[in-house]
């Protein structure tokens, strides 16, 4: 069952990656109005960087891996400048009365989240397809 194991491993790595994307999108949404992060600056929008990684199998060692998984290469900050909002009464306002609010666009985060959720579902479907194929193959032994 080694080949199909590799397929399931690749899909499982994608599930973990999509979960990371959803987590980052959710934290961006949650911090859309956070003007203070632990480093003192306003929160900056974060993004997940994904990289293709071969699944660790016997085939991969031999250099003929069919299944390539995905891994989270890192979570980087968006370099777009913070939005400025005029709000003199805000405690974090500067001398001119402008507050730096995070460079988060809630609509964009929602779209990211939906796309990550759909990708998660697609990978779940792929896993259940492989599982069904294996079970069909086992039925060859019956009767």
């Amino acid at each position: 069952m080694s080949t199909l194991n590799a397929a399931i491993d690749a899909s499982a790595s994608a599930l973990a990656a999509e979960r990371a994307r959803i987590e980052v999108a959710v934290s961006n949404l949650a911090n859309a109005e956070s003007t203070r992060a632990p480093d003192g600056r306003p929160y900056r929008r974060r993004d997940v960087v994904l990289s293709a990684t071969p699944v660790e199998t016997f085939d991969a060692v031999l250099g003929r891996a069919g299944a390539i998984g995905v891994a989270v290469a890192g979570i980087v900050e968006d370099r777009a400048p913070a939005r400025q909002r005029y709000e003199p009464s805000h405690p974090d306002a500067d001398a001119e009365g402008f507050v730096s609010v995070p460079n988060v666009d809630p609509a964009e985060e929602m779209v990211d989240m939906v796309s990550a959720a759909r990708a998660y579902q697609a990978n779940l479907t792929a896993i259940s397809l492989v599982r069904d194929l294996l079970q069909r193959a086992l039925e060859l032994g019956r009767g």
Partner: protein, 97 residues
């Protein structure tokens, strides 16, 4: 021999050279079956670990579910091999001499 290679490949990931050669006394199918049972135990232990990781919050639900499915499929495969073995034994025992 083909069956031995198949099972050795499934149970161990890669068939060792000893299993592909002529089976020595006490080796061969018996050994392959033993390794199959070992792999069932191994996948069961993996599934247990994945479920407890999920329960204490350090693992993902999908990892636990995949480990459970893997254990289930390995067990089903072993049961099929055992069924075939018993069936072959019974066929031979019923053979009129």
């Amino acid at each position: 021999m083909a069956i031995e290679q198949l099972i050795a490949g499934v149970a161990g990931g890669a068939a060792p050279p000893a299993a592909t050669g002529r089976p020595a006394a006490g080796q061969g199918f018996e050994q392959s079956l033993g390794r199959l049972v070992t792999s069932v135990e191994g996948t069961n232990a993996d599934a247990n670990q994945a479920v407890s990781r999920m329960l204490d919050g350090s693992g993902d639900v999908h990892d636990a579910m995949i480990a459970l499915q893997r254990a289930d499929l390995t067990l089903q495969f072993t049961v099929q091999v055992r069924n075939k073995l018993v069936q072959a034994y019974q066929d031979i025992m019923r053979m009129p001499v």
